[in-house]
């Protein structure tokens, strides 16, 4: 039996927006057809709801009351001073190769002398090459991907809605490739800024390849200016060739009325090493979904994160790790702090295929509950079809430990300070997984500012408007 449900307001708006804006989106050749196919695939199922197992705790049909119009270009230029207002002082000063995307469009790159692309890496705007003759391989990335039957409660395979919406609407993003054997001296920082005076939606896509034996650090920031709510789909597809190593950090900070639907696809060839970290501070409705596949043996996947929620923040971390070759290792550690009516979700699925002997998979999610109204849902899933494996998972949700509080206070530390110390140290244990000291310190300072309820962006909006002309190299 098929049940035809009424389209929600948001679904109707999306259909109207697609019809209106698709002709204006970048990409010739195969691209328009791929966008149409993606949108049709999305529209056939609509927004996911709680009867779709993978979306059980994040019901977009209920959560997205309306779909905002695709973002307009921003007239503001983000130079170093303006960036400090959205990134906070530490990240803004991070020595790096930086790309700034504003309202879904590549605005500038800022590259220190001697670090220009060429010998070690290539980097450019997605919109500039989408559909160009040499970039046919992208068609695969824009193809329709599905969620398995198991995740739809027997409802048949359905289209992954975030991927489909992003393929349909993606306006720009970054195409980055690290040359075989290259060692980048600096991290690459991709900054996506929403500069919204009115509600708006963005869709960005990053395609990253780390060549065999190369090593790179990549940070993605999703931040915003202005108080208007925003909606984003953000997809990153990153593949590591044999023996490559990537450290990949996401920094997401938004306000309570926004929605961020993120998806990372990570592909690891033999002996590749991937260390990922996702930091989320607030943001309203957030879904960070990551899919990991192993195409060669003996690769390592180490993934951690910290999420901080208050008020009605809803932060969902969903992870699917598919071990389909031998001897691979996966490690996940996520820590959350939930206050007010915030809700945290951790869904971690580890699949060990019959061929994937000697797989070593461990997963842990821990949450500190600061309020009785906060909620944490954890759904670890192990699907093991091989016999010679070591896999485990755990999750905890606890309040601040009263004995620890007493110990600290008995040493003269006032109650507020003792509490802060315990919360900060809890989050710090996850943030410590970030290997680069500069990035780790920056993220920790953003977390501290959030926990102490100071806005990370100290300077007022005006400072950005009055910013000196953009000094970035184009």
């Amino acid at each position: 039996m098929t049940i035809t449900t009424m389209k929600t307001k948001a679904e109707e708006q999306l259909a109207e927006q697609f019809a209106r804006t698709a002709p204006l989106l970048p990409g010739g050749a195969w691209v328009p057809a791929a966008r149409r196919a993606a949108f049709q695939a999305f529209a056939a199922n609509g927004l996911p709801h709680r009867r779709i197992e993978a979306w059980k705790y994040t019901d977009l049909r209920a959560g997205l009351k309306e779909a905002f119009s695709p973002a307009q270009c921003s007239t503001r230029t983000f130079d170093a001073a303006a960036l400090a207002t959205v990134l906070g002082p530490d990240l803004a000063q991070l020595p790096c190769i930086r790309v700034v995307i504003v309202n879904g469009r590549w605005q500038a790159k800022m590259i220190p002398a001697g670090q220009e692309p060429g010998a070690t890496y290539h980097m450019g705007s997605l919109a500039a090459v989408l559909g160009q003759p040499d970039y046919d391989w992208m068609e695969l990335c824009f193809g329709v991907s599905t969620i398995s039957d198991a995740d739809t409660l027997g409802g048949g395979a359905v289209v992954d809605p975030v991927m489909a919406l992003n393929s349909a609407f993606a306006s720009d993003g970054v195409v980055l490739s690290i040359v075989e054997g290259a060692r980048l001296g600096l991290p690459i920082h991709i900054v996506s800024i929403v500069d919204a005076d009115a509600p708006m939606a963005t869709a960005t896509r990053c395609l990253i390849k780390v060549g065999a034996g190369a090593k790179a650090e990549i940070i993605e920031s999703h931040v915003r200016l202005g108080e208007s709510p925003a909606q984003a789909t953000a997809v990153t597809q990153i593949s590591l060739e044999a023996g490559a190593e990537a450290h990949h950090v996401q920094h997401l900070a938004a306000n309570g009325s926004s929605a961020h639907l993120g998806r990372w696809d990570v592909e690891l060839a033999e002996r590749a090493i991937y260390r990922g970290f996702q930091f989320t501070a607030g943001g309203g409705l957030v879904r960070n979904e990551t899919h990991v596949s192993f195409t060669g043996p003996d690769a390592k996947f180490d993934f951690s994160g910290a999420f901080l929620g208050r008020d009605r923040d809803h932060i969902d971390t969903t992870l699917v790790v598919d071990h389909s070759t031998t001897g691979c290792e996966s490690r996940e550690l996520f820590k959350g702090v939930l206050d007010g009516h915030a809700r945290g979700i951790f869904q971690g699925k580890v699949i060990v295929q019959p061929v994937a002997q000697k797989t070593d998979g461990k997963q842990m999610a821990q949450v500190l509950m600061l309020s009785e109204d906060a909620e944490f849902d954890s759904k670890p899933e192990l699907e093991i079809y091989a016999d010679d494996v070591a896999c485990g998972h755990g999750s905890t949700a606890a309040e601040i430990d009263g004995d620890m509080m007493f110990y600290l206070r008995s040493r003269g530390i006032p109650e507020d300070q003792a509490r802060a110390l315990l919360i900060e140290s809890f989050v710090g244990e996850a943030i410590d997984k970030i290997q680069s000291e500069a990035i780790r310190t920056s993220v920790m300072n953003i977390a501290l500012a959030w926990l102490r309820d100071l806005p990370a962006q100290a300077a007022p909006l005006k400072a950005a408007k009055a910013a000196t002309p953009n000094k970035a190299r184009e």
């Binding site: 600290l408 206070r409 530390i413 300070q417 244990e429």
Partner: protein
Amino acid sequence: MLEIKNLHARIADDGTEILKGINLQVPAGEVHAIMGPNGSGKSTLAYVLAGRDDYEVTAGDILWNGESILALGPDDRAAKGVFLAFQYPMEIPGVATMTFLRASVNAVRKKRGVKELTTPEFLKVVRAKAAELGVKDEMLKRPLNVGFSGGEKKRMEILQMSMLEPSLCVLDETDSGLDIDAIQIVAEGANKLRSKDRAMLVITHYQRLLNYIQPDKVHVLAHGRIQKTGGKELALELEKTGYAEFKLKAA
């Protein structure tokens, strides 16, 4: 002077009364020992002195230098000079020992109206005291008490005590878990703090510690009350006879 007057305390959760009318006075400059069978309420007394809110005081009072401290939170008591060396020090993952020590010392100094220590001043003091007490540099680098051996935790307690310069020191079985050399080091640390305006309450099961920290008085706590008070020879006596006398008394 510490004055404990008819102190009654119960477990806040279930209302079980543990301290059933304790009367005790420790004048400044003196060291008193408390001995007593397991479960008699020694640690409970120590916690109540430090202000742990798992216990409710239902009657009586605790005066420190003539002032009741019952209404004060643990941090304010610490500022007034109360220090409890825990029988089982807590492990606090993620909090660096140095960060903690500095927060603690400066919080107490601030409340006492003394200038806070700068980083170099603080480091100088910690390093000197740590060396005296045989606390290894490596321990100071780890998260507070995490993975420390039983004896290492006790040394860390004494390090904290000497950093905070308390005027009322309560040592809850600081000797248990320590090897013989460590007992001497810890006792030396405590003895250094002995002074005419400092009072010390030493809870122990073993007479041995009292050879190093000579008490002015020894009290026997059983069934939530002080059952007997004597000089330091009482500890020796108990070593021979045990607590049978006090167990019978209650029956």
